[in-house]
Symmetry: C2
Subunit: 244 residues, 2 copies
């Protein structure tokens, strides 16, 4: 068996009771991207465990929760300056009482007493992030060995209630398609109407009528048609659009 070296920072985290972090409250981030006509979600794999989780963490006692979400996402994925919004808070009493945490600690050779704060019930505030896939280089932190994109249609086994959190985030995104500038964050700066429709169809998981779609989009004040057409030379090349 590999000789495991427990990071000093992690030792502080698990011993630091009641002081640095808000008790019984955590943050989980659902980061969506779009590439190869697939919706992608960013997951991290914890060291010493064969399971995946959403990028998440705790809230410093003097830290606003939105700021904590930004910090956590930066620490765990390298991303910053994102579309990042609260979408729901998850408060089932059994959601975080899983054996996954204990398994990881066992693998690291760490023993914590039952009343350690990490074993308490956690209520988790969910944040939804939208990022341009091409501009993102995920990195890892002290707890995770891998951070990477997964197709939303092929999500691996997740810890805790993270599958449910992702489904709720997707439901929120679907409801906001005609009120929030979703494509602004998921597509390149300039795009054609068929490209935008493909994004919407992928998010919704169903085909859309071309004319109805164009009509709904043109009623959104945030989408603007440019004078340019998509390059490539065809005589009837489609117009380009952008979000303003």
């Amino acid at each position: 068996m590999e000789n495991i070296k427990v990071p000093e920072e992690f030792k502080v985290l698990i011993s630091n009771r009641d002081k640095r972090y808000v008790r019984q409250c955590s943050i989980d981030c659902v980061v969506f991207g779009f590439a190869q006509n697939q919706m992608k979600v960013l997951l991290v794999q914890w060291k010493y465990l064969d399971k995946w989780t959403l990028p998440g963490g705790f809230i410093h006692q003097d830290e606003p929760i939105d700021q904590a979400a930004n910090r956590i996402l930066k620490e765990r994925t390298g991303l910053e300056k994102l579309y990042l919004k609260q979408f729901a808070t998850f408060g089932d009493p059994h959601r975080s009482r899983s054996k996954d945490m204990q398994q990881m600690l066992d693998a690291m050779g760490i023993f914590l007493p039952e009343d350690n704060w990490l074993f308490e019930r956690f209520i988790s505030i969910g944040y939804l992030a939208l990022v341009n896939f091409d501009r993102v280089t995920p990195n890892t932190d002290l707890l995770s060995s891998v951070c990477g994109w997964h197709n939303l249609s092929e999500i691996p086994d997740l810890m805790f209630d993270h599958t449910h959190i992702i489904q709720t985030a997707l439901g929120t995104l679907r409801k906001q398609l005609y009120t929030e500038p979703v494509g602004k964050y998921l597509l390149p700066e300039k795009f054609t109407m068929p490209e935008l429709q493909k994004l919407y169809e992928t998010i919704l998981g169903e085909p859309l009528d071309r004319r109805n779609f164009a009509k709904k989009i043109s009623s959104m004040s945030s989408v603007k048609r440019l004078k340019e057409r998509k390059s490539g030379g065809a005589h009837r090349a489609p117009y380009l659009y952008t979000f303003i």
Copy 2:
């Protein structure tokens, strides 16, 4: 000065550290009603204090948060079986660190040490409730002396960040006017299109074009025109509508 009798239940609440309730987490409910062409919000006044608050409370360690919101609303207002949904979580580190709590305790002659759990930072989960004004008889609980409706346009001084919470709830309601059956909970079972329009105009705080409004409403699958017309005898009495 009045001889204050501190309720036994309250003594338990303030002494019961770390056990019954989730630490650093609370629930606040924004209850909207509609009457006399005014949006109303339900507020409670704490005993021994001249300030108002939203109906709120704590979460039992073994209780799902939605269930806690329902229980709190029933305990503090007598309401149950409502439209009650989470809308946002409030996490400014200074939001609950006010002197209001200390003032109330002083007035009751209670001294609590600085490290009492009630003085910790609280992150509050906001729930939005919509109720039919005519069916509601607010009542009080052990901490509140008055529970009653206030016009949204004339809200008194509130404790903590509760004015901000109400404004956020109103913003959420405005965004959902054409996607959620808002009128189902705020109006009587049957209503005319002008009555529904008046409700929407009151929530939005601005007049709406009659034709555009009727067109938008008729595209909502939840609104149905009945064969009945509004009684009163006029030859051209308006049709009645209902939510299905």
